[in-house]
């Protein structure tokens, strides 16, 4: 039992961690010579007290251990959010539960949590007058500003939304939402499909815009759907245009693909006013997450989707992401081709030069188009390009192309067509579903999650490596992996936080590997529903490090990989992997993030997207109802 083992460990360690010892006694005085019996000699003076010994170091008994959640087997359990019932945090056993703070569609006065607004702040409406309420909340950050707790929640829809809400914290650490309002993005042409985010060291929310529209398609668009991308046409509603009736010309006038696909920073001032910045200088892509390192300058940026780059931004001024240099990783594999447990050295290729948001924005506002940046040619079926063109293979939609950079277009290419340009310069654009990022400062290790290791990440993929350099040559693993990157000083790039190499930390166990089919047997409660072993993590998405406790939290985004998404706690010291939460059928755990101290309490934020549904008294229940929940596991005692 966890309790007993830890208790005895506690006692043992206590014994060592005592107060400092007394100083030694002084040596005795020499004896007096013998005399006649008579008066006794004086006592020798006491020796000086020894100086105090230095204090023993406090017992650094940083223990974090969760009682594990077993993978649900009953139907009832598969429909619930299951959470570790307790955790051992240092000396205390803490009871845990999952607490919902708000659900999309909840009303607070006249505000509706997750309701989409246009560029005048009015709710966007469909032709029947109905309002758009996003059922997909993703990451939420918790900020403490001016003596008020705020939560900023991202909603993954088109148009996208962020809501800033006020929170109160009870005496027992329970968080409640008391008000909410949408964040205004009209100064940056609206928000596009935000996904994950992080909190910067200077306490701002650093969000993202995912899957921007291919500007090459927009330029030649002859239909409205081709201007924005057919699943994105509702972005036009942000500009109060109706996708059903708008002309192609009007759509093109309002919607510019280069306005979207960037990290987005939201600052909260004392009193709650928000200001937003899109960091064009940080490059454009299907941004999953931008993560700022402790130097407040070095930022790692992951992208979701297929055939992506992995980029690093070095801000010119610490704490200011509006200007800096941009690099893309070049993977040099050191592990055998086609094998699992990959390892690679990483080189960083600079894209363009130093850039400022304002300069990039000026290009966009000037109406720059894709064809002003690149010339294109047709790729031969064998992946080769005509003379003067370079083959690149990026993104699942744009795929393999032959490109030639037009003269003087380095800045534009580096920031507006980052992925294409990265490939063009020889960086690696084979990364697949690269999502969560988190950093262990004490261990100097960065962790990233690949939800799946396939497509361009395998050795010589027929379509995804066509025309490209095939840098990444790992064994296919449909269950994904977490990779560890060594972080250190790079004198050329000029920061102490450059990733120099990487290797696999944890891999999912792929039972449906065609080379090694090993499905659960018939009759097993896991049969037919879990492509990946239930006892291991699969489809890792969010990562969050618990500093001081050597624990990595891993949130899954599984479909057929795991029937129920799980959140795991991985002890980097012992290699112990504990499941600490599972979500219902069809639900996704999102926004897993650890806060070590919010007014004396720690929280593990975890949102649940698309939970299966609630008990309903009236039989009015749709099993596919989508509503997402923002909440947390905890509270735990402060852990910093």
């Amino acid at each position: 039992m966890i309790r007993q083992t830890i208790a005895s460990a506690l006692l043992a360690t206590m014994a060592l961690a005592c107060a400092g010892e007394d100083g030694k006694d002084g040596s005795n005085g020499t004896d007096g010579t013998d005399g006649a019996d008579g008066t006794n000699g004086q006592n020798g003076t006491n020796g000086q007290n020894g100086s105090n010994g230095s204090n023993g170091t406090d017992a650094t008994l940083k223990v974090l251990s969760f009682s594990p959640v077993t993978a649900p087997v009953t139907d009832a359990d598969k429909r619930r959010v299951l959470v570790s019932s307790e955790a051992l945090v240092n000396n205390s056993l803490v009871g845990l539960q999952y607490t919902t703070v708000a659900r999309s569609g909840d009303t607070f006065g006249t505000a509706v949590f997750g309701r989409i607004v246009d560029n005048t702040g009015m709710p966007v409406r469909q032709q029947d007058g109905s309002e758009f309420v996003s059922p997909s909340n993703d990451f939420s950050s918790i900020l403490d500003v001016g003596n008020q707790l705020y939560e900023i929640t991202q909603f993954e829809t088109q148009p996208g939304a962020m809501y800033i809400s006020q929170l109160t914290q009870s005496a027992t650490g329970v968080l409640s939402m008391t008000s909410t309002r949408p964040v205004d993005f009209s100064s940056v042409n609206g928000l596009w499909n935000p996904c994950a985010s992080s909190v910067t060291p200077w306490s701002t929310h650093l969000g993202s815009e995912e899957y921007p529209q291919d500007a090459r398609q927009t330029e030649t668009a002859t239909t409205v759907a081709q201007v924005t991308g057919s699943s994105n046409v509702n972005m036009l509603r942000y500009f109060r245009l109706d996708p059903a009736t708008v002309t192609v010309a009007a759509a093109k006038a309002a919607f510019k693909p280069y306005h979207y696909g960037y990290p987005v920073e939201v600052s909260v001032a004392s009193g709650g006013a928000t200001s937003v910045k899109k960091h064009y200088a940080m490059g454009r892509g299907a941004i999953e997450l931008a993560y700022v390192m402790p130097d407040r300058k070095t930022v790692y940026i992951t992208s979701d989707g297929t055939n992506n780059a992995f980029t690093m931004f070095i801000a010119k001024t610490a704490g200011d992401l509006s200007e800096g240099r941009l690099y893309a990783a070049r993977w040099f594999q050191t592990s055998p081709a086609g094998a699992p447990n990959g390892s690679a050295d990483l080189y960083w290729i600079e894209l363009g030069g130093n850039a400022k948001n304002a300069d990039v924005k000026a290009l966009v506002d000037g109406g720059i188009t894709f064809s002003q940046i690149f010339d294109t040619a047709t790729m031969a079926p064998d992946g080769t390009c005509p003379a003067g063109f370079k083959g690149v293979n990026t993104d699942s939609v744009t795929r393999a192309e032959c490109l030639s950079l037009k003269t003087g277009m380095e800045l534009a290419a580096s920031r507006l067509e980052t992925r294409r340009y990265a490939a063009y310069l020889g960086a690696t654009t084979e990364f697949r579903k690269m999502e969560g990022i988190t950093y262990d400062a004490a261990g100097h290790r960065l962790y990233v999650a690949f939800s799946e290791v396939n497509n361009g990440m395998v050795n010589g993929h027929a379509t995804r490596d066509l025309g490209g350099p095939n840098h990444i040559r790992l064994a296919e693993n449909g269950c994904g992996a977490v990779y560890e990157l060594t972080i250190g000083k790079d004198v050329v790039i000029g920061t102490d936080y450059v990733a120099s190499d990487t290797k696999a930390l944890l891999e999912g166990i792929w039972l449906q590997d065609p080379a090694n089919m090993n499905p659960y047997p018939a009759g097993s409660p896991y049969a037919g529903k879990n492509e990946c072993a239930v006892s291991a993590m699969a489809a890792p998405d969010n990562l969050s490090f618990v500093p001081g406790y050597r624990t990595l939290l891993i949130g899954e985004d599984a479909g057929s990989e795991h029937q129920n998404d799980a959140v795991w706690a991985y002890d980097l010291e012992t290699g112990r992997l504990d499941r600490i939460m599972t979500t219902p059928y069809g639900a996704e755990s999102t926004g897993v993030y650890f806060y070590s101290n919010i007014r004396g309490r720690a929280y593990i934020k975890a949102n649940v997207q698309h939970p299966f549904g609630e008990t309903d008294q009236t039989m009015m229940m749709d099993p596919t109802e989508l509503r997402s929940y923002t909440g947390y596991i905890g509270p735990l005692p402060a852990m910093n």
């Binding site: 959640v69 077993t70 087997v73 009953t74 139907d75 009832a76 359990d77 598969k78 429909r79 619930r80 959010v81 299951l82 959470v83 570790s84 019932s85 307790e86 009871g95 845990l96 539960q97 999952y98 919902t100 966007v124 469909q126 029947d128 109905s130 758009f132 309420v133 996003s134 829809t157 699943s231 994105n232 509702n234 059903a244 989707g305 699942s396 009759g523 049969a527 529903k529 489809a539 985004d557 479909g559 057929s560 990989e561 029937q563 059928y585 069809g586 639900a587 996704e588 698309h610 299966f612 549904g613 609630e614 008990t615 009015m620 229940m621 749709d622 099993p623 596919t624 929940y629 909440g631």
Partner: protein
């Protein structure tokens, strides 16, 4: 999120999230009575929602796809007309698992007399509370002659497997929830109910609907939209409505919360709407084909939740985006045996089907998943349904021997059935209906004008099989019943089907131009 095919087993009540945990046990979000330790059901075909019609050969441009896949009309935002020209299928489903359709089993060896005796035996035991006994106004009445509030309606069947000549005779009944059946004082009223059904019809068919003279003042509703409260002889269809003048249901239903129950928005049914239809064998009486007393299936759908235009738009765009980024992802289907499977559009579906002795039993989850593709994922539907938007009257069509319905006319003025016959170059999706092909298509694949005019006036000329074919279809289906192999395909096919065993994602279909509705 990334979908996959998920099933839920036998249900316990669902649970709310956010309540306090107990110690030691994994904390649950609340503490209802636990269901038994039921393992998840076994599913053979994870793509059971993709019906066999999707594997029909399209070489040379034959096009059975347009029936379901087309550019849609809001609030259907699926807009999948491009599937006609470029194949979109998840990798798993590229392999055709409908083995009964690729290789139809030998028909049951059973003589005419025994077969007729079998199909004339009624097997409905009240699986739903519809009596399947419509009076001449379509009102369903129980054994005591009381209305059950179900009402039969007739529609020209969607081309393809719903034609009697392709296997089954069907019927359809609709019912609205209790509040729609009562007047403003709460008293049950067939007249109020009929009015509410007319209001619904106007919204779903997007046309004005004639009604018996109604006193708008008493009802408190300007049904004919003339700006005054007088006597209305029609429900007017106006879309989009002027703000503040949105149409409403009448009687007790007028007091319902529209955010929960809905309102007569164009193309949508209110929450709580139920639709039931039976699929029957074919009987032959005095040389004429009639629907048999025996039911192959009872199919039931219920609108569990109101979804507004915006809700449907968000859901459709989300699915579309997921598919664009990863076309191989299979669909999540959620639900349980008690409430049925969710279509994703607010409806749940359930069904009953014969066991090997002909007794109706609940369909398995895999058998029910078969409904989800057409009722929850194509551009052709009106709020997840086909038939009500095509309604031509309040009666059970089969009871009139399939007579008296004219051919639907397309937007371009051509006959829907004629265009379909020429598109599929035959009488069914798979090219196995040699009878229709021989009778109605010349050797250039055209329907001669004379024949087209004949079935334009009365579709029974086309869609009802000869008695010989009717019995052959019954035999073909009975083989599947005896084998209980519905999950491998339940279409009754006579002849070698034109069907692919393997599809290629992203490949051109062979259809050059998508056929518009």
């Amino acid at each position: 999120m990334r979908p996959g095919l998920l099933f839920v087993g036998l249900a316990a009540a669902l649970v709310a999230i956010g309540l306090r945990a107990s110690q030691r046990e994994p904390a649950t979000a609340s503490a209802p009575a636990a269901a038994g330790r039921v393992a998840a059901p076994a599913i053979d075909n994870l793509a059971a929602y993709i019906p066999p019609q999707c594997y029909a050969k399209t070489t040379g441009g034959r096009n059975p796809c347009a029936t379901c896949h087309r550019d849609s009309v809001a609030p259907n935002f699926i807009d999948d007309g491009d599937v006609q020209t470029e194949l979109s299928i998840p990798r798993y489903a590229a392999t055709n698992r409908w083995t009964n359709v690729m290789t139809p089993p030998a028909p049951a060896a059973i003589g005419d007399a025994e077969l007729l005796s079998y199909v004339r035996e009624g097997n409905y035991r009240g699986e739903t509370d519809c009596a399947f006994a419509a009076d001449r106004d379509g009102w369903d009445r129980d054994g005591r002659g009381e209305v059950t509030w179900w009402r039969a309606y007739a529609s020209p069947p969607t081309p393809g497997m719903f034609w009697p000549t392709n296997g089954s005779a069907g019927d359809a009944f609709i019912r609205l929830p209790d509040a729609y059946r009562r007047d403003a004082q709460g008293r049950p009223s067939l007249a109020i109910y009929a009015l509410n059904l007319a209001i619904l019809e106007a919204a779903v068919k997007r046309t004005d609907v004639a009604i018996p003279p109604a006193d708008e003042r008493t009802l408190g509703a300007d049904l004919d939209g003339d700006g005054a409260l007088g006597t209305a002889t029609r429900v007017a269809f106006r879309w989009p409505p002027a703000p503040g003048r949105e149409p409403r249901y009448v009687g007790a239903a007028a007091a319902l919360d529209t955010r929960v129950w809905g309102w007569p928005a164009a193309g949508l049914f209110p929450a709580g709407t139920e639709i039931v239809h039976s699929l029957r064998y074919l009987d032959v009486i005095d040389g004429q084909v009639w629907p048999a007393a025996r039911m192959k299936e009872v199919r039931y759908m219920r609108k569990a939740r109101w979804m507004s235009y915006a809700d449907l738009d968000v859901a459709a765009k989300h699915e579309q985006g997921e598919k664009e980024r990863d076309p191989d992802v299979l669909r999540h289907i959620l639900g349980d045996s008690e409430k049925g499977l969710g279509t994703g559009g607010g409806w749940t579906v359930r069904g009953w089907i014969e066991d090997e002795r002909g007794v109706l039993r609940p369909q398995t989850l895999e058998e029910t998943a078969y409904c989800i593709g057409c009722h929850g994922g194509v551009g052709a539907t009106t709020d997840g349904t086909f038939s009500f938007a095509r309604k031509v009257g309040w009666f059970a069509w089969g009871a009139r021997g399939f007579r008296g319905i004219t051919e639907p006319v397309r937007d371009d003025g051509r006959g829907e059935y004629r265009v379909w016959l020429e598109s599929v170059r035959g009488g069914d999706d798979y090219g196995t209906n040699a009878e229709v092909a021989a009778r109605f298509l010349d050797d250039r694949g055209r329907v001669p004008d004379g024949l087209a005019e004949a079935f334009a006036k009365d579709i029974s000329v086309l869609v009802v099989p000869t008695p010989e074919r009717a019995l052959a279809l019954d035999r073909a289906y009975l083989a599947i019943v005896r084998a209980q192999s519905f999950a491998r395909g339940r279409d009754a096919l006579l002849g070698a089907p034109l069907i692919e065993s393997q599809l290629v994602q992203g490949a051109p279909t062979g259809i050059q131009t998508a056929l518009a509705p």
